[in-house]
Amino acid sequence: MAPRADVVVIGGGHNGLVVAAYLAKAGRKVTLLEAADQVGGILRTTSPADGVTAPGIAHTVGRLRASVVKDLQLERHGFEAIMPAVRMFAPQLDGPAVTFWADPARTASELRERNAHDAEAFSGFDAKMRAIASFLAYVNVATPPDAKSPSIADAIMGLKLGKAFRDLGAKTGREAIRALPMAVADLVQEVFDDEAVRGPLTTRGVLFTSMGPWATGTAAVFLNDSAGTDGGAAGTAVFARGGTGALAGALESAARARGVDVRTGCEVAGIRSKDGRVRGVTLADGTEIDASLVVSAADPKRTLRLCDPVELNPYEVWRAENIRQPGATAKVNLVLSGLPTFHGGDAERLQGRIVVGLSIDHVERAMDANKYGRIAEDPMLEVTIPTLTDPSLAPEGSHVMSILFQAAPRHLREGDWSTERDRVADLAVKSMERFAPGLGELVEAREVITPEDMETDYGLTGGHAYHAEPALDQFFAWRPLNGEARYRLQIEGLYLAGSGAHPGGGITGGPGANAARQILADAKR
């Protein structure tokens, strides 16, 4: 007879670990199955050289939900957040860089020399973004309503959200409604004059997406980036001591401490169901595990592909196949023999995110390439040097430079990723050399994680780190699909708890925590 668990969780990324820990905390017997030989998903680290730890995909963890840290006692399990004073350093081709600090007043005061108008506007913009983001934080903890048959719980949630909305005041409320469907370029352009301020801000609306800053809905991505955290206009820049993997380790430890059976190297080949009800899973090696609940932290398309198509009707299969997950981000990790010198960038300014988004047009052009299946020649980059705040990640004197590269489409029209891999690293270094001359000579080792690798090694369909494009058509009550946003998918007993569910991607733990709450609430009924 097959071994049995109350709950099988598919996928040991951060959301899988979060949902497993919460369910175990509520007394469920949980088995978590991770296909890779270590947990972490996009938090996993790599080792591009001896003694070096580099972040696999995600390199910052600033959006992690505070209640998750508290509920799962992550600090006791070894998680330590490093919060540098700088959020974003934006080097320029002509003239001094622009630095965005955690303290908006400091940002504004430095901006004054460059552009008095923008300096004046910055604090107001920051405050407005915080106000709207604080409302979004309410939205993000909510289980989206069921438009078809709203329940009393939905009504209560609606009232709560309504109250949070009214608390914004009529003016900010109208602003919030206006801002959400906007293009981040518009949001930023109507306030700031200076491209050196606009460009870096817009990158936050398009990172990990395949959209350019002129795309409607990127303002929502921008605002979500700050929702529930101390992000403001500059976004967050928070590292985990010991690397992103250390956060995964803390989550794993918290899950195990609550009794979760965490198994790595266990790839799920199928979700078994009968008469519309989940029975368990089958592993790639043929082993079966019975469970009355299967919670998938894998992306929604992958999850639904694991199901028996006979259990889903053809329309639902068609819908699932139309979930959009166009990955357009590649990762380049460089091991450096020393700290590169940036024009105007002392070591303190380099501790957060270094952003190459020179203007709205630059970012837009970089993302244009994606539309035609090309790699951007002059990419948009988000770079961190985690060794600056955590020297333990590399041998003394060495540094790790982690570069998120856009656009690098999952599907190339010409050539394929086996030949284009090196070009991404070359282009990234070439771009950075403009701001940090001599960078190339410091490179001791490098690795590229292409969107194809993200699909094959990390299990992300389409190579999309957010599981499903965070566009307005895959948002809130229709993420990942209309009628499937309440974490429960098609088949009874099957749940989605990954980034493909509300509130979406990024290291928040939000989908996992929300799903756990919904699963427990459904069980009570």
Binding site: K148, A170, E175, I177, R178, A215, D473, G483
Partner: protein
């Protein structure tokens, strides 16, 4: 002493005229003031080349609300819409030709893709149903999300219920239409490039967006809401050009007692104590009015016609940040014969419909890319019709008029440059070059031409930045955000100054709905005021 009217309507375009007619129908004494010598605004027929009548700007009709046609008895007043049959997309060695005959379309599509032929009907039905579902929105005054007043929200009740009662499939489609890009939306069904590209064109017309820009699926739907004689998604040309729509409405308005003055540009809205009391004409003449209805866009109305001190600075800022960004131009050609398509030679019914230069989504998107960076498209999307084939009165016998809607022609040019005669000429010649690739003999047929840039649209019609919809149809500028968040109910912060043009919900196109709803809302308020008094 200044003359006094119950209502003065600024602007003699179709919305201004519709508004005036409805107000007069309710017994008000109404005056319409038009700056130009000719009525119509962007709904204009003008004889630019002797003997050839051009529909200078807008050139087809479908969105005009049927209740307006009925209420104002427009047929009696000379409106006749001649249906256009189908769309042909010429390609290098082939073409895609769709007509108003389902069987023929399926057979045509089968040449391209069995899948597309099969889902074409399903798609068409779904869109028609969506159009029917969304139609009531076209006659609602949007609520203010900053208030909980039931007066604002109750009209939405039936709609919310209708949404809840929709089958999930249609709910999903509705959500997608409100949020997706036209390309993503169409990709779910179709695989034939020229088909997707030609269909996506409805999603970008008049906007500063490309077919891959999220939000364009809505514009697709906006264009699907059209109907002629109850037939959805049917487009036609008015006999005598689009200007005859304006003249039919004007004729109806006159019969209802409206006074109409042309060459009577308004210089300023007069105010007293935060209330509009009338208008001052460019000539200095003053006219008193119980209410001033502006069919102009919000920038023209609030920035140009009002003194700066009349408005809160924050309101002015909101008006100023409203997006116009005109993106389209027109090329109108007087031809001394019919041009032939290289891919489908001869003269036949395919020339009687729209000829769409939209071979692939990439072609359309590239056209947009050029505009994004401030250049007219090197190879633009062109929607070309020859109205003389259905309405020979538009040109001398045997001769033809070709109307080409061209996108993109950005109002704001690269490096802050301005449109001038040389740029207009280059723009027009480039369009003719593009036409020539499909109509090899066209140059030899041209007797005269008119090139219209977004700057010309602005100069002639007064539409800011040449935006044909009086404000970009992007999600944050629709419904309760149109034209200013909190002021979407046709009233403005200046009492007795109202908006009634395309700048307000439900937006542009020859629809007439803004003019009609504004009149209705004003009359309701007036009645309530009377009762209170």
């Amino acid at each position: 002493m200044a003359k006094r009217y119950d209502a003065v309507v600024i602007g003699g375009g179709h919305n201004g005229l519709v508004n005036a007619a409805y107000l007069a129908r309710a017994g008000l004494k109404v005056l319409v003031l038009e700056r130009r010598h000719i009525l119509g605004g962007a709904t204009l027929t003008e004889e630019i080349v002797p003997g050839f009548k051009f529909s200078v700007f807008s050139y087809v009709v479908s969105l005009l609300r049927p209740e307006i046609i009925r209420d104002l008895e427009l047929a009696k007043h000379g409106l006749e819409i001649l249906p256009l049959d189908g769309t042909i997309t010429p390609l290098d060695d082939d073409y895609l030709w769709r007509v108003n005959d389902h069987g023929k379309n399926v057979r045509e599509l089968r040449r391209w893709s069995l899948n597309d032929a099969e889902v074409y009907e399903e798609y068409g039905q779904l869109m028609a149903e969506m159009g029917r579902f969304i139609k009531p929105i076209l006659s609602i005054a949007p609520p203010d999300p900053g208030t909980i007043s039931p007066r604002h929200w109750l009209p939405l009740g039936p709609l919310a219920k209708a949404f809840r009662d929709l089958p999930k499939k249609m709910q999903t489609t509705f959500i997608q239409l409100m949020t997706m890009s036209a390309a993503d939306f169409l990709d779910q069904w179709f695989e034939t490039e020229p088909l997707k590209a030609t269909m996506s064109a409805s999603g970008i017309i008049g906007t500063f967006q490309g077919p891959r820009s999220p939000g364009t699926a809505y514009v697709l739907l906006h264009h699907y809401m059209g109907e002629i004689d109850g037939a959805f998604r049917a487009w036609g040309v008015p006999r005598g050009g689009t200007g005859s729509v304006a003249y039919a409405i004007a004729d109806s308005a006159l019969s209802l007692g409206v006074e109409i003055r042309t060459e009577a540009g308004v210089a300023r809205v007069k105010t007293a104590g935060g209330r509009a009391t009338g208008v001052v004409l460019s000539s200095g003449e003053e006219i008193e009015a119980g209410v001033v209805m502006s069919s102009l866009d919000s920038r023209q109305t609030f920035i140009n016609l009002l003194d700066e001190g009349e408005l809160e600075p924050s309101f002015r800022d909101e008006v100023m940040r409203y997006k116009y960004r005109g993106s389209s131009g027109k090329v109108n050609l007087a031809l001394n014969g019919l041009p032939e398509l290289a891919c489908k030679p001869g003269v036949g019914p395919w020339l009687r419909g729209a000829i769409s230069f939209s071979p692939s989504l990439d072609y359309m998107e590239r056209a947009y890319d050029d505009a994004k960076y401030g250049r007219p498209s090197e190879r633009p999307y062109i929607d070309c019709i020859m109205p003389t084939l259905v309405d020979p009165t538009m040109a001398p016998p045997g001769k033809h008029v070709m109307s080409c809607f061209v996108q993109y022609a950005p109002y704001h040019l690269e490096g802050g440059e301005q449109w001038d005669d040389a740029k207009r000429e280059a723009f027009g010649q480039n369009v003719i070059d593009t036409l020539e690739e499909r109509f090899p003999n066209i140059r030899s047929l041209i007797e005269g031409h008119q090139f219209v840039t977004p700057k010309d649209i602005e100069d002639i019609t007064g539409l800011s930045e040449g935006n044909i919809f009086a404000g970009e149809l992007s999600l944050e500028q629709l419904f309760f955000n149109r034209p200013v968040p909190g002021w979407a109910r046709y009233e403005t912060p200046v009492k007795d100054l109202w908006m009634c043009g395309s700048a307000t919900h439900p937006g542009g196109g020859i629809m007439g709905a803004p003019g009609m709803i504004a009149a209705r809302e004003y009359l309701k308020l007036r009645k309530r005021g009377r009762r209170a008094a």
